[in-house]
Structure formats: structure tokens, C-alpha cells
């Protein structure tokens, strides 16, 4: 019963968030200087009627609130408007690019999870020893490498020098795409691995110091079992919370990596569209990222009690 109410409450909050986001996203475009029509002309000489026609075609002659209503009305029908730069439906433009970014984010996410969790767990379990310190130093060094620097180094070494990986493009077919996304995923994952690694470490150390862990060990339960059942399971909460944030971070950071590796994802599209005053595309991508962020966090909120029963039972258990 409470679970249903919780979910319903979340859903309401979610819709409200999305509505506010849509208003913000749409009207912020009027704060950006520049006339989309002037941009559409790209320096060439138009006839006067042509300018009027183009303005009308893209609905730019309507008052802003009416443009907003048209836009939201379209959104509800799955129509995101028409891209000014590509002269194409935004849904088509996004549909062509989304798989690349999703592939990149999923692959980087997997790397982050595996490397970050392993590094964090190993460090926590060898707290204070050489292994712990080397992992911490390693993570700190990696954390100082911005994605674009990582991209340049990876391309220079593994694509240009060694020739092991392609330096650009997203490939064709499943395996080829996977192969093409290896270097970009690493470049994207680096910074986030550090975050997950450090949170995992501190969260697990926190648990290792708990009384129930000491009791469990003193009872002679095997260390591996204790770590799995007690330490890791209880440490998962903070890690999940951070992971929720990561989703938006990954989607946004992908623009840098996509540009460096010549990948046609929504990250590079966003940057390009902002620059070209292609508002329908910018609005759609921003709304998409906001939606993804809100949804992932909502799902984590809903899932958390099942993974970590204490958070559902209330703070008493702590």
C-alpha cells in the first residue's frame, strides 16, 4: 500500500519536474541573442518574401507563449518540431544519434561500475596498506585528467601510434560498434571511475567499522561472506545515489568525447545545435537529458528499499 502511494507521489513529482523543465528549457531560448532566421540565411542574399516564408514555416512569427503551446502540443504527440539546420524532423535527427550516445553511456557505465567498484572495494579491504594507498593515488591522478585530454592521449597512443583502435566513427553492426566505442568509453569513464571508486571505498570503510560487522567476524563467519552480506549490501545506498547523478553527468560529458572521436551522438549534436541556434534540437536534447536524470533517480529511489531494507524501515535501524 505504502509502496503504491510512494510511487504515485514520485510520479506526480516527476511530472511537475518535467513541466517546469519544459517551461525553463523553452523560454530560455529567448534569452539567447541572435535571430534563428538570420542564421538560416547563412550569409546569403534572400528575397524579402523568402524571409517571411521561412519565418512562418518555423512558426517564428508567433508570440512566444503560442510557440510554447505549439511545442508542448507537439511533444505530447511525439512531435519534437523540425530542426532548422538539418531541415528534418527532430525525432528523426535524434533517432539517428541516440543509439551512439546510449552505446557510449552504457559501455562507459559498465566500465565505471566494474573498475570503480573493484578499485573502491579493494582499497577499503586493504585500508591503510600499500594497495589502498596506490589505488587512492591512482584514482586521484586519473581524476585530474579531463575527458578531452584523455581523448587526445588515447587517440595518439592507441589509434595513431599503435593502430589498435579506430580514431573516429561509430562503426557498423554490433561488434564493430563495440570496437569503435572502446576508446571513447574509456575517455568518458575515467573521471567517473574516480568518483565511484572513492565513494565505494569510504562507504565500505564506514560499514567495516560498524559493530555488527565486528560481531559477525568475531562469531567466526567467513570474511568473504561478511563482506558480501553485510558490508557491501549496506554500502550500496550511497553508491546508488552517486550513480543516479552519474547518468546526467555521462550524458552531458559525452559531448566532449563525441567531438574528439567524431561520433555522431546527441552530445556533439547539442553543442553544434546551440552554436547554430537550432532551438528545436537543443530543447529536445535538454528535455531528454532532464527526463533521463529524473527517471533514473526515481527508479533508484523506488529500488533502494528493496536492496537496502533499512531505508524502508526508517532510520531506526541505523
Amino acid at each position: 500500500m505504502t509502496a503504491v502511494r510512494r510511487i504515485a507521489g514520485k510520479l506526480g513529482g516527476l511530472l511537475l519536474t518535467l513541466f517546469l523543465a519544459s517551461v525553463l528549457v523553452f523560454f530560455s531560448r529567448f534569452l539567447v541573442p541572435g535571430d534563428p532566421v538570420a542564421f538560416l540565411l547563412r550569409g546569403r542574399k534572400p528575397s524579402a518574401e523568402a524571409v517571411a516564408q521561412i519565418t512562418a514555416q518555423y512558426g517564428l512569427d508567433l508570440p512566444p507563449w503560442q510557440q510554447y503551446l505549439t511545442w508542448v502540443g507537439g511533444l505530447l504527440h511525439g512531435d519534437l518540431g523540425r530542426s532548422l539546420q538539418y531541415r528534418q524532423d527532430v525525432t528523426v535527427v535524434l533517432g539517428e544519434r541516440l543509439p551512439v550516445t546510449l552505446g557510449l553511456v552504457v559501455m562507459a557505465g559498465t566500465m565505471i561500475a566494474i573498475v570503480g567498484l573493484t578499485a573502491g572495494a579493494l582499497a577499503a579491504l586493504s585500508r591503510g596498506r600499500v594497495a589502498d594507498r596506490s589505488i587512492l593515488i591512482g584514482l586521484t591522478v586519473l581524476g585530474a585528467v579531463p575527458s578531452f585530454v584523455g581523448s587526445i592521449v588515447l587517440i595518439a597512443v592507441f589509434a595513431v601510434q599503435l593502430g589498435w583502435f579506430p580514431s573516429f566513427g561509430s562503426g557498423d553492426g554490433f561488434w564493430d560498434t563495440l570496437y569503435h566505442l572502446v576508446l571513447p568509453s574509456i575517455a568518458l569513464a575515467i573521471v567517473f571511475v574516480v568518483l565511484v571508486g572513492k565513494v565505494t571505498r569510504s562507504s565500505m570503510i564506514d560499514q567495516l567499522d560498524r559493530e555488527h560487522v565486528e560481531v559477525a567476524i568475531s562469531r567466526g563467519i567467513r570474511r568473504g561472506t561478511v563482506v558480501r552480506r553485510h558490508v557491501f549490501r549496506n554500502a550500496v545506498g550511497p553508491i546508488l545515489t552517486v550513480s543516479g547523478m552519474l547518468v546526467a553527468g555521462l550524458l552531458v560529458s559525452s559531448s566532449i568525447v563525441e567531438a574528439a572521436f567524431g561520433l555522431a551522438g546527441i552530445g556533439s549534436l547539442l553543442v553544434q545545435s546551440v552554436d547554430r541556434l537550432d532551438f528545436p534540437v537543443v530543447q529536445a536534447i535538454v528535455l531528454l537529458v532532464v527526463t533521463a536524470f529524473v527517471l533514473v533517480n526515481a527508479v533508484i529511489d523506488v529500488l533502494e528499499p528493496w536492496i537496502d531494507p533499512r531505508s524502508a524501515a526508517g532510520a531506526g535501524a541505523r
Binding site: 541573442p33 541572435g34 535571430d35 538570420a38 542564421f39 538560416l40 540565411l41 547563412r42 550569409g43 546569403r44 542574399k45 534572400p46 528575397s47 518574401e49 523568402a50 524571409v51 517571411a52 516564408q53 521561412i54 514555416q57 539546420q85 538539418y86 531541415r87 528534418q88 528523426v92 535527427v93 539517428e96 544519434r97 587526445i152 587517440i155 595518439a156 589509434a159 595513431v160 593502430g163 579506430p166 580514431s167 573516429f168 566513427g169 561509430s170 567531438a259 574528439a260 572521436f261 567524431g262 561520433l263 555522431a264 551522438g265 556533439s268 549534436l269 553544434q272 552554436d275 547554430r276 541556434l277
Partner: protein, 554 residues
């Protein structure tokens, strides 16, 4: 990256002193294969020469890859207005006339044209040509294709070529007649570019708003068919087996053109041998590419001149003496060396000799010899500033993060202005805001100067001087000289190229003296070919000529 054709960077042509447009092709060095040489040392000018045509291919090739700095905005010929659009479209769609690598025009989809009266152009449409879907080319397709430029709903980028058109009609089985409101020699010259492209009328009707985008694609008559457009990444061109012109039958079965906006990524792809070639190399990468051992860099004909547009004649630059002083205070050779690694030549004219096709010897001499020189001379410049009494006044130079050349040129101009006692402010705007400078008067508000590399699409210098007439859309500073206007208008109405060139030369001299724009330098078109491929003609005509068709295996 960026650019509209106006802001497009690194273009411009090297003009050997002896080169006269009349004998253009003959003078160009026919270098079959200029070997990658050691990196030029920083203190001497790089060694380079113009190549008219690279070695003929030893045979056909299954496929090759090419790199472009940007994705086309559209492959609808009505909007194909930039390097990225046209370098692809040139291989897929054909025009009534064909613009050759030496910038001459020859018959294309029109096997001939006549000019029975000053106001009419009659085109005879070639027989035996088919579109990529197999349907035959008809005069009706030509009428429909051309008429789109006049349709406000289309909003064609090439409207200016059609501004004097009164009617486009089919006047015979294979005949199309264009009637002008007044004599306009420039209309026919534009038919070698995108303004003259012919598309299937049925396809235009069927694709509607999606015509020319990544889902709608196109259906033209060129040596290659556009078979795939992977949005944001690449387009694929496939040889069209029923292509009408044996001489330009594609040597490659397939060409993949990749879009890579990042200059480093582009250079890496060429250096690592992953990509077979590309136009318009970043100047600072030329030495690296030459030393890469993966292929060769070639230099070819260009039509672009890098210049500073004076966009505010109300400010200090409204005084001719101040414009002259600023140009005298700029070390143009130094700027060229820093901005384009020395690949180019300082110029005093806004056109290159390459566009003076059909000009008379006398007109050429008149147009280029004995022009005002503006050598670097600070003292003379300061004196002019004193005479004009503008010392201490401010000018604003707009720039954008579009590349090393933009940074160097804006700083060079600012330094020159400071050196002669003006105050100079560099205003850095986003690339799109920079693009808007070329179409939106509001964007130019408060801006005195901005850089452009302005290329011409037709083999006639009038294309350049036409835009400097009073009230023209691209006369950004609102410069006005009645004598100049009268000369240009007179020239436009003259059909004979030699006779026309005489008048145009006088217009060029006026621009050279009054400096509505400050000419800086011209540089060559550059192209890289990997050691797998050869056969391309290095020339800025790659925007309209099916350059990829001639590339085969080395």
C-alpha cells in the same frame, strides 16, 4: 567546423608572378607527384607549387574514404551554399553547365546554349541522360528545378543568381528559355554552380520537405549516386553505372565522405592512413602531413581572398585615409606567415587572377599591375592618421574561435590599429554569431572590422564587385561610390567576356584605391591524397566539379 562560405577559412590562391589568367592552365605546374618533403624550417617560406592535375590512376578502385570538416547542412541544391554541402553535391548532381578545374565553363546537362537577345538565354537539354532512378532527363525537369529558386517558400540560397529572371519556360521538346528583366551576363555564368543544378521533378514532388536531407536524399544525374547519409557521421556515394559522360565515369565503386569537425581528429585520420584524402587542410598540419609518409599534399587553384571587411563607415574607418593607414600598418606578410604558415601571397585586389577567365590581356594588366601597393609603412600610416585627426578613436574588430588564422588576423589588425594611435578592441563572438555578421545588420552593430575568406563561385570577377554596389546585401559597410556602381552595372550588361573585363578592371582599381574591404592575402586550395589513390585535380572547382569521379588507385 563552421563556416558559411563567407567565413570559411584557409582558401585563397597562390599566384605566381608570371601567371596570367588567359594562359592559366598552361602555366600551372604539371606535377605528377610531388614527394613529401622534410618539414620546412620555420624561418624560410615553405616550398610549394601549384598542381593542375595529379597523376592519372593506374586503374579503378573499389572504394576510398574522404574527410570533410563539417556535415552538409543540406544536399538540396537550393541550399547547398558552403564547402561542406557542395563538395559532396558536386559528385552527385549536375548543372546545366560544368565548371572545370581550370575555372572555365563547358556544356553540362545543357549540350549548348544560345543568347539570341540580351534578355534571353536558350538552353538545349542533352539527350540520353538519366537520373539515378533510371528516368530520363527532360526539359520539364529543368524548368521545375530552376523555378524553385524563384519560389519564396523554398527560400533558395542562390536567389541572387536569379534576381533578374522574369520567366523560365519550356520552349521546345528539349529547349528551355530564360527571360531576364534586363541584360545580365552573370546569370549564365552561375549555371555552372549549384544555381544550375537539375533534379528530377518527380523526386522533388515526392520528397517534399524532406528533399535533400538525410532521409529524403536526392536523385540527380551525376557520376555518383547518393546512397546513404549517416546523420552526423558520413555520406556514401555509389558509382552510377548508367552515367552519360564516359569521360567522367567514376573510377571508384564507392566513396565514403566522413564528417570530422575537430581539426586534430581530421589530421590524425589522414596521418594514420585511415582516410584517403581531404580538401582544405589546416595550414599548420601541412608539414606534418607531408612528413607522415602516408600520402602527399597538393596545392591548387583557388578563388578566395582573405580580407578585412570594413563594416562601419560612420566610425573612424569611414575616412579613406584611415582605411589606408590601417592597411599600411599591417605587416601582411608576417600575418600570412603566422595565420597560414606562409602558404599564400599578399594581395592588393579582392579577386584572384583565376576568376578572370576570358579577360583581355590589357584588362588584366589594368586590373592587377600598378595597383596601390600598401607596403608596411608605420610612419606614412601615422601621418595619415594625423591628417584625418582620428588619433585616440576606437575601432572594434570582431572575431570568433574558428581557427588559428582568425586569432592571428584579429590580433594583427588590432596591433596595427594601436601602433598608429587608434584604440582597438577585439570582440570575440561565437561562431554562429560570427556567421550572423554576414546576414544580420543588427549583428554588425558596433563592429568596425571582421575577417573573411571570400571565394567566388563563377568564373568572373564581377561576382565580387557586384556585392560592393550601393545597397547590396553583402555590402556590409554600406560603402557607396556612384562611379563604381555605374561601372559594375555597365559590365554586368556586357556579354563579351573580354570587353566586360575591361570595365571590371576599372571597378577593381576603384576598390583598390578606396578600400571598402582591406585585401590581405590569397592562398592555394589544398588537398591530401593517401598513397592508395590519385587522379584528382586540385582546384577550388571541387565545389562544383565531380572531383571524386576521377580518383582511382595509384
Amino acid at each position: 567546423m563552421i563556416p558559411t562560405r563567407r567565413t570559411a577559412r584557409r582558401s585563397a590562391v597562390h599566384r605566381p608572378a608570371a601567371l596570367a589568367a588567359a594562359g592559366l592552365v598552361g602555366v600551372l605546374v604539371l606535377s605528377a607527384c610531388s614527394p613529401g618533403e622534410a618539414e620546412p624550417d620555420a624561418t624560410t617560406a615553405p616550398e610549394w607549387e601549384l598542381t593542375a592535375q595529379t597523376a592519372a590512376p593506374s586503374g579503378d578502385i573499389d572504394s576510398f574514404t574522404w574527410v570533410s570538416y563539417s556535415e552538409p547542412y543540406s544536399l538540396d541544391y537550393a541550399y547547398a551554399f558552403d564547402y561542406a554541402d557542395n563538395q559532396v553535391l558536386a559528385n552527385v548532381c549536375e548543372s546545366l553547365l560544368r565548371l572545370n578545374p581550370d575555372y572555365t565553363l563547358s556544356p553540362g546537362l545543357a549540350e549548348s546554349f544560345e543568347h539570341p537577345s540580351p534578355e534571353t538565354w536558350v538552353y538545349t537539354i542533352r539527350e540520353g541522360v538519366t537520373f539515378h532512378d533510371g528516368t530520363p532527363l527532360t526539359a520539364a525537369d529543368v524548368v521545375t528545378s530552376m523555378s524553385r529558386h524563384l519560389d519564396p517558400e523554398v527560400g533558395s540560397s542562390w536567389y541572387s543568381a536569379y534576381q533578374n529572371v522574369a520567366a523560365i519556360e519550356q520552349t521546345g521538346d528539349r529547349q528551355v528559355t530564360v527571360t531576364m528583366t534586363r541584360p545580365d551576363s552573370q546569370f549564365n555564368l552561375a549555371m555552372g554552380g549549384s544555381a544550375g543544378v537539375v533534379e528530377s521533378a518527380a523526386t522533388l514532388a515526392q520528397k517534399g520537405a524532406d528533399y535533400g536531407n538525410s532521409t529524403g536524399l536526392v536523385n540527380c544525374t551525376g557520376p555518383f549516386e547518393l546512397t546513404a547519409w549517416k546523420s552526423g557521421e558520413s555520406v556514401t556515394l555509389t558509382r552510377y553505372d548508367d552515367y552519360w559522360d564516359e569521360a567522367l565515369r567514376a573510377r571508384a565503386g564507392e566513396v565514403e565522405v566522413l564528417f570530422m569537425t575537430d581539426p586534430n581528429a581530421r589530421v590524425n585520420a589522414l596521418k594514420s592512413g585511415e582516410v584517403d584524402g581531404g580538401w582544405m587542410l589546416p595550414p599548420d598540419a601541412i608539414a606534418q602531413l607531408q612528413g607522415s609518409g602516408k600520402g602527399d599534399v597538393y596545392f591548387g587553384l583557388n578563388t578566395a581572398v582573405g580580407s578585412l571587411i570594413v563594416s562601419d563607415l560612420e566610425g573612424p574607418l569611414g575616412d579613406e585615409r584611415v582605411r589606408e593607414a590601417l592597411l599600411l600598418a599591417m605587416d601582411r606578410q608576417g600575418i600570412l606567415d603566422a595565420a597560414a604558415q606562409g602558404y599564400g601571397e599578399v594581395t592588393n585586389a579582392l579577386t584572384t587572377e583565376s576568376v578572370w577567365v576570358g579577360a583581355s590581356e590589357a584588362a588584366l594588366d589594368d586590373a592587377f599591375d600598378g595597383l596601390e601597393e600598401y607596403p608596411y609603412d608605420l610612419e606614412a600610416a601615422k601621418k595619415l592618421i594625423d591628417d584625418a585627426g582620428v588619433a585616440g578613436e576606437e575601432i572594434v574588430i570582431a572575431t570568433a574561435p574558428l581557427g588559428n588564422d582568425f586569432a592571428v588576423i584579429s590580433q594583427g589588425a588590432a596591433a596595427a590599429a594601436q601602433a598608429i594611435g587608434l584604440k582597438a578592441t577585439i570582440q570575440t563572438v561565437s561562431p554562429s554569431a560570427y556567421t550572423a555578421l554576414f546576414s544580420d545588420p543588427a549583428a554588425r552593430d558596433g563592429v568596425d572590422l571582421f575577417y573573411t575568406s571570400w571565394y567566388l563561385s563563377s568564373p568572373d570577377p564581377l561576382e565580387m564587385y557586384g556585392v560592393l554596389r550601393t545597397g547590396e546585401f553583402s555590402n556590409y559597410g554600406g560603402w557607396s561610390d556612384p562611379d563604381f556602381d555605374a561601372l559594375v552595372d555597365e559590365a554586368v550588361a556586357i556579354d563579351d567576356p573580354a570587353q566586360r573585363s575591361g570595365i571590371t578592371a576599372q571597378a577593381q582599381r576603384i576598390a583598390n584605391e578606396q578600400l571598402p574591404w582591406l585585401p590581405l592575402f590569397e592562398g592555394p586550395t589544398t588537398v591530401f591524397l593517401s598513397d592508395r589513390v590519385t587522379g584528382v585535380a586540385p582546384s577550388v572547382a571541387f565545389l562544383y566539379y565531380p572531383w571524386a569521379a576521377t580518383i582511382g588507385s595509384r
